[in-house]
Subunit: 193 residues, 2 copies
Amino acid sequence: MAKVLIPIATGFEEIEAVSIIDVLRRGGIEVIIAGIDSESNNNLIKGANNIVIETNLDIKNILNISSFDMIVLPGGWGGTTILSQNIQVQNLIKEFDVTKKLIGAICAAPFALSKAGVLKDNLKFTCYPSVEEQIPNSSTRYIDNFKVIQSENIITSRGPGTAICFGLYIVSILISNEVKNSLKKGLLADFCD
Amino acid sequence: MAKVLIPIATGFEEIEAVSIIDVLRRGGIEVIIAGIDSESNNNLIKGANNIVIETNLDIKNILNISSFDMIVLPGGWGGTTILSQNIQVQNLIKEFDVTKKLIGAICAAPFALSKAGVLKDNLKFTCYPSVEEQIPNSSTRYIDNFKVIQSENIITSRGPGTAICFGLYIVSILISNEVKNSLKKGLLADFCD
């Protein structure tokens, strides 16, 4: 069974996080929601629009990544700032990269990939409009006319309105195109590629 | 400030509930998430894809609806079955209707409106494909080629892929078309009308 780690921190964008988790689980992927500093709050994390979701565990309990196929970061500036500064999250992102595993980020979160040094200068990416201004050397590699961009092991997307499509793309890579197409129909997400 | 009541029950569809809450709050609407039988579980409710969200209060604490402008039901068959059978929720839906307040439902949830008798035979509606088969006299009034349908005080929508558009439509009615258009742009939801 494919397994994906989704770290969430206070101020995460709720549509993005929940759409990704929902679509991946519909696709048969095991999703582990890992909270940043969630232990002191009963494993609950509050999003940018005051929607509180329960994590499966605190990120401190992720001791190695061998069982995971991918890490995916939801957006929201509050959450992204924390993911960009938290040493354990940054180390995890680097470890997924070094071991050639897939790494995903949507909206503001590609900034956290840039901070970890995994959004290398030869890679194309997309993100929420204007976030690319915070990412070095973006002028030739930022793509704004696709909902999802894959460049080597890095898969990026743009914002709340592309989150379902981002989830579907990940399902197509980790499971199959057939399952992705079936989910797309079931979700009534005809606006996704 | 406009105020909307969103009842959620075990098995609710997470993309739908969270997209609606997120978009309405972005639009400046006060959203109260009311759980069904949530008190025994620290106000936590688990959705259809095992995403757990925290409610603001239990539905038992909604003693009157005078401060609310609208009630909106997210879908998911598990949640819809409970909303269709819970006497307090059914009475609340009827009370919103009798007082000519707005009533919204997406995906399977129009079935819960039908159970409450507020999806009257003269009203057009939409819902998740095939759910209309459970709704009396649907053949002449079920619409399948629009993401959102308003007929008198009843606003309905189709599924996860239309949930952002449903939220935006509600913002256009409760706040303004200008705010809706601004949110649509910010959400990158160009697929909504």
